[in-house]
């Protein structure tokens, strides 16, 4: 069987005043349907670039990305993105933000009443039923991110792309949302690609962790499979040997073998 999502020999370079800058080179990754993949790496390692390529927001310079054997050439709702800073439209209510996506994606296939139910269903899924009429400015950061996730889920994407979805949240809210995402993924079986730079988050949520080397010309350094049964519980995992081993492996990759040069990092 062909792979669900396949990233083949992908490279990206940008033209700059000082000649071409190679951001990514030789990236190869196969993703199975229903898999949860995390991409981790230091800042500037091109992990956002990689996500944007899958989203179709950026074009590959070399190589190709195939989703169900069709080349990705432009953005589209079958590769919905949850943006780092939620990107809700501030002039629309929570309901209308999700509705904008639902009307666009399901406008031809669902009746008005079905679309309404579908918006409310997805908001209920992320636990936001109580705030459908609020504006984004009136809800907390965690809630905004929930709405962003609801908007993406409502598009029924083939691949759900999460761009550091919990990066801007406080630790408690982050843990809550991570659990929510795990629960939703268990229920719906979404294929997910998530960018993160939080090691615990990557180990807790992922089936596989893709570790990126540092840029320029970054590429995939190592892929770690997390053999932990689901559902996973953050409390009992804390001293689970498999968890600890995976965590150490990622830390070792990031801080020993591919540590950022201190001068560059400063």
């Amino acid at each position: 069987m062909a792979n669900y999502l396949s990233i083949e020999q992908v490279g990206v370079s940008f033209d700059t005043d000082r000649g071409p800058y190679v951001a990514l080179r030789d990236v190869n990754l196969k993703v199975e349907k229903g898999e949860y993949i995390s991409i981790i790496g230091h800042s500037g390692c091109g992990k956002s670039t990689l996500l944007n390529l899958v989203a179709g927001l950026l074009e590959t310079t070399t190589g190709a990305i195939l989703l169900e054997d069709k080349e990705v050439s432009e953005p589209g709702p079958e590769r919905a993105v949850v943006f780092q800073n939620h990107s809700l439209l501030p002039w629309l209510s929570v309901y209308d933000n999700v509705k904008l996506a639902v009307d666009k994606v399901h406008g031809k296939t669902k009746s008005r009443a079905e679309r309404r139910d579908w918006v409310l269903h997805n908001l209920a899924l992320v636990g936001m039923s109580h705030a459908v009429d609020r504006k984004p400015g009136e809800i907390s950061g965690g809630m905004k991110q929930r709405v962003g996730i609801a908007r993406a889920l409502a598009m029924e994407p083939k691949v759900l792309l999460l761009d550091e979805p919990f990066g801007a949240l406080d630790a408690l809210t982050r843990a809550q949302l991570q659990d929510k995402v795990m629960e939703i993924q268990a229920r719906l079986g979404n294929t997910v690609i998530m960018i993160t730079h939080d090691v615990d988050e990557a180990v807790l949520l992922s089936d596989r962790i893709v570790m990126m080397t540092n840029g320029p010309a970054a590429t995939i350094g190592e892929i770690l499979t997390i053999e932990l049964p689901r559902p996973r519980n953050r409390l009992t995992l804390a001293d689970n040997p498999t968890y600890v081993k995976a965590r150490t492996a990622v830390m070792e990759f990031l801080y020993a073998r591919h540590a950022l040069n201190k001068v560059e990092a400063a």
Binding site: A55, G56, L57, E74, P75, G76, P77, R79, A80, V81, F83, N85, S87, L89, P90, W91, L100, A101, K104, V105, K135, P136, G137, E138, M155
Partner: protein, 288 residues
């Protein structure tokens, strides 16, 4: 550009509830705050009028003192609605005539300005092509356009309207363009992921995202229109507050000029506030 409005006094807030509660302390606090806001300008006004009165009192001053102005123009002030035919009309009619020219010219410049602003905001090619031209043209003083437009239109009224439009269009174009260029990339990405069509993107994202900037431009534009109309009317004649001032000067009715200037100032202020309030209303629906 959101303007913080004063918190609603409690007794007003109560009116929207089921039982209006009259909180005396809150009423007093509210009154005191109003008074504190109104007092300084009133005192300054009284001081300036007093100074003016002192300087211009007596027979040899070139300009009339305030008391003299009121005595000279009491007919004009007390009845703004008289109409003796021709250009001999009350202040209300003069100002209405000017306002209707401003309305026409400003409407044209709003439509043209927002369209061009969207164009140069959205297309960097159009921006590079047109922006330098706009930057030069916008420095041309309003009245410099008048002879050219008289030559083109061969009639006074369209020329005046053209001068209004050409004067007020620049800030509308430039602010709209800034608003469009400032639309966060995230919103554009959302639109791309959703595959919004051009019109959908315009109405659902571009317009709401740039409306506050557009209103900044409209507000500056309406101020410039009002500046330009008074000057243009002085030259084209007919009914209008500009020609009224010029006519008063030709008849050496200095007091009438002063009354007209005050009226021009007040109307200009009201126009500015109207557009500002409209902008806040629209932006209030937009910004959270």
């Amino acid at each position: 550009m959101t303007v913080r409005t004063e918190p609603m006094p409690k007794f007003l807030a109560g009116l929207s509830g089921r039982l209006p509660t009259l909180d005396r302390a809150a009423v007093l606090r509210w009154l005191r705050r109003r008074l504190a806001a109104a007092l300084p300008p009133l005192v300054m006004l009284a001081l300036l009028i007093g100074l003016w009165e002192l300087l211009c009192r007596g027979g040899n001053a070139p300009l009339p003192a305030p008391s003299q102005v009121i005595a000279d123009t009491w007919d004009l002030i007390s009845d703004p609605f008289f109409d003796n035919g021709g250009t001999d009309k009350g202040l209300f009619w003069q100002i209405t005539a000017s306002l209707s020219r401003v309305a026409e010219g400003f409407l044209i410049s709003a439509v043209v300005g927002i369209s061009l602003g969207v164009l140069i905001g959205q297309s960097s090619l159009a921006f590079r092509g047109l922006d330098p031209i706009f930057q030069v043209l916008r420095t041309v003083p309003p009245l410099a356009w008048l002879p050219l437009s008289l030559a083109a239109f061969q009639a006074a009224n369209p020329s005046a309207i053209f001068v209004i439009a050409i004067t007020s269009v620049w800030p509308i174009i430039l602010n709209t363009a800034v608003g469009i260029r400032n639309i966060p990339q995230d919103y554009r990405n959302v639109a791309r992921v959703l595959r919004l069509s051009g019109p959908e993107f315009f109405f659902k994202i571009m317009l709401p995202a740039s409306v506050p900037f557009m209103f900044t431009g409209l507000r500056i534009g309406i101020g410039l229109s009002w500046l330009a109309i008074v000057a243009a009317e002085m030259l084209i004649g007919g009914v209008g507050i500009g020609f009224f001032i010029w006519d008063a000067w030709n008849s050496s009715l200095i007091s009438e000029i002063i009354v007209a200037l005050i009226a021009v100032g007040i109307v200009g202020y009201i126009l500015d506030r109207l557009i500002g309030a409209l902008g806040n209303l629209v932006a209030g629906n937009v910004k959270s």
